[in-house]
């Protein structure tokens, strides 16, 4: 199972036929295992990593650190879940250190992101303070380095 996941993690477009050849399973076995893992939520989603800047689309990303006052009993999960529901929020993480939650927010402009934070996040009752870091440039994302790919010229035939 791990084998299939490792293959899919790097290339979700790969065909079950090829996975079958690589793992020694039959095509039907592979397909059913993938189905199962999708059902169980082990495979959450198939995504595409896009360099939006190259595509000519301007997106603004910001990392926002939050200090949170906990209401009794509900804990971090409740506030995190609430924040996660905003589509502008790309990721929500509980972190150690000076702050409690770290969000990544995406918007069309700095203004849009700033207003979103000011109006939707900072106003939440439990949020005590926010620090907004605008992302100036992304060098690596989801394990993919966004520079020109390293190209090494191997000799076409060697012993």
């Amino acid at each position: 199972m791990k084998e299939i996941l490792e293959i899919l993690e790097n290339d979700p477009k790969i065909k079950p036929k090829e996975i079958a050849a690589m793992t020694g399973l039959t095509e039907a076995q592979v397909a059913s295992k993938i189905k199962q893992m999708e059902k169980k939520g082990i495979i959450r989603k198939y995504k595409t990593v896009i360099d939006w800047e190259k595509a000519g689309e301007e997106y603004v990303y910001a990392i926002i650190e939050l200090k949170v006052v906990l209401r009794s009993r509900t804990g971090y999960d409740a506030i995190a879940e609430r924040i996660a529901k905003f589509p502008e929020v790309v990721s929500v993480r509980l972190i150690s250190g000076g702050h409690d939650l770290s969000l990544t927010v995406r918007g069309k402009s700095m203004k849009e992101v700033a207003f979103f934070v000011a109006e939707k996040i900072a106003t939440l009752e439990q949020v005590q303070g926010t620090v907004t870091h605008f992302v100036l440039r992304t060098y690596k994302q989801d394990g993919d380095i966004l520079f020109e790919k390293e190209r090494t010229e191997r000799l076409p035939v060697s012993p």
């Binding site: 084998e3 490792e6 293959i7 290339d11 790969i14 090829e18 050849a21 690589m22 793992t23 020694g24 390293e150 090494t152 010229e153 191997r154 000799l155 076409p156 035939v157 060697s158 012993p159």
Partner: protein, 407 residues
């Protein structure tokens, strides 16, 4: 035999070399060495564009970043001097530790390990250290292209022994015994094997060891692909009882850590044999490049994670290509090591060179004809799967259309 030029300079060098007649000053022993079959094919490939190459004998991974970083850092700190002839002691100690851990063989880092400029140098040193004029050396074929010329250059006589697909390209103790004459000095073992991907099991090695003992042979065991085995761990030949004193182990970092161009390898053996090799090495090479030695230290200290990742990826590609070739009707036994598949093309009625030449011309896929690795490689192709999955799938598609056309 090493092709040591970049693609561009290689091109011009090859063009002017084509009609070269041997100069009267060139020594006879060199004149008598046949031109490399790989070289000829290499020239052909260079003339074409858009070629997918399964002809490459090196990993398609770049040296892992932490190893490159260690090399860079060593340069920044000013490590640019000679090292001991034997190589940096720290590196030899790490090699020794690893052999103890992986194969339960004890090599004294002070006297029994020699760091060399690639495994090729180590092989050359081993032959020169062992061979007196006229000594015979048994070489199971198909095999890496440099053993035979190196043996000849050292004044020896290579005695090829054929291995076959029916026996998964394993050499047997009986075959070795049959080839032994009064002049036989040494035996070359190279498993996991380039070009076939064959491995010897422990029981095969024990049987070979019996013959080695009976006829008191020296053994040169090139184990550079030892980390690349699938579905079973490698057995080091010197771990077979009684073999350590008779064996020179050759190994390196090119394949396991994708460090081919850094040229770093080593030999391990008895103090006497390593001492003899060091005598030649100290005059011919002095020491292996220090930057590469620094990289090798990092590879042994922290390289296992990246290595395991590479091996798992090779394993997937291996299954993919073997499955693909078999489905195309090109019989391919399951290689258990290295990164080569060695399918038979006998069903097509073509020779290896005809098939490989046609495939290159018509479908732009480069493979190496099996006969360049020895006569018994005729009727086979070496297909390296050290190339991306997409390229493998594309190459298989092109081979299929080549087969369709040529029927």
């Amino acid at each position: 035999m090493e092709i040591s030029c970049s693609r561009k300079s290689g091109q011009s060098a090859c063009q002017c070399r084509r009609d070269l007649m041997p100069d009267k000053f060139v020594a006879e022993i060199v004149r008598n060495i046949p031109p490399s079959g790989i070289r000829k094919f290499f020239d052909l490939v260079l003339e074409m564009e858009g070629v997918i190459s399964l002809g490459v004998g090196e990993p398609d991974f770049v040296t892992p970043w932490h190893i490159r970083e260690a090399c860079i850092y060593s340069l920044e700190k000013g490590f640019t001097s000679y090292t001991s002839n034997f190589g940096l002691l720290e590196l030899r100690e790490l090699i020794s530790k690893n052999y103890k851990k992986d194969y339960k063989v004890d090599y004294d880092p002070q006297h029994q390990i020699l760091v060399t400029t690639g495994v090729s140098e180590a092989a050359d040193l081993a032959f020169r250290a062992l061979i007196d004029p006229g000594d015979e050396v048994i070489v199971p074929e198909p095999c890496y292209v440099s053993y035979k010329p190196s043996i000849s250059l050292a004044g020896g006589v290579p005695v090829p022994v054929r291995t076959h697909m029916e026996n998964e390209f394993r050499i047997t103790a009986q075959q070795i015994e049959k080839s032994i004459t009064k002049k036989t000095k040494a035996l070359v073992l190279s498993y996991p094997n380039n070009p076939t991907g064959a491995v010897l099991r422990k029981k095969d090695l024990v049987e070979v060891a019996d013959v080695v003992n009976e006829y008191d042979l020296a053994v040169i065991s090139d184990e550079v692909y030892c980390k690349l085995t699938y579905g079973g761990l490698h057995t080091c030949f010197s771990s077979i009882p009684g073999m350590k004193e008779k064996t020179i182990i050759l190994n390196g970092f090119s394949k396991s850590h994708a460090m081919t161009g850094l040229r770093i390898g080593f030999a391990a053996g008895s103090e006497e044999l390593i001492g003899a090799m060091t005598k030649i090495h100290q005059y011919a090479m002095l020491c292996a490049p220090i930057t590469a030695q620094m990289g090798a230290i990092e590879a042994l200290k922290n390289g296992n994670g990246e290595m395991d990742k590479m091996i798992r990826e090779y394993d997937r590609r291996r299954r993919l290509i073997v499955d693909g070739l078999n489905k195309l009707g090109l019989d391919c036994f399951e290689p258990k090591g290295a990164f080569y598949a060695f399918p038979s093309i006998k069903s097509t009625g073509m020779t290896s060179e005809e098939f490989a030449g046609g495939l290159l011309k018509e479908e732009k896929v480069a493979v190496v004809p099996g006969n360049v690795f020895g006569e018994c490689g005729e009727g086979h192709l070496r297909c390296s799967y050290a190339t991306s999955r997409e390229q493998l799938v594309e190459a298989l598609g092109r081979i299929e259309s080549y087969l369709d056309k040529s029927q």
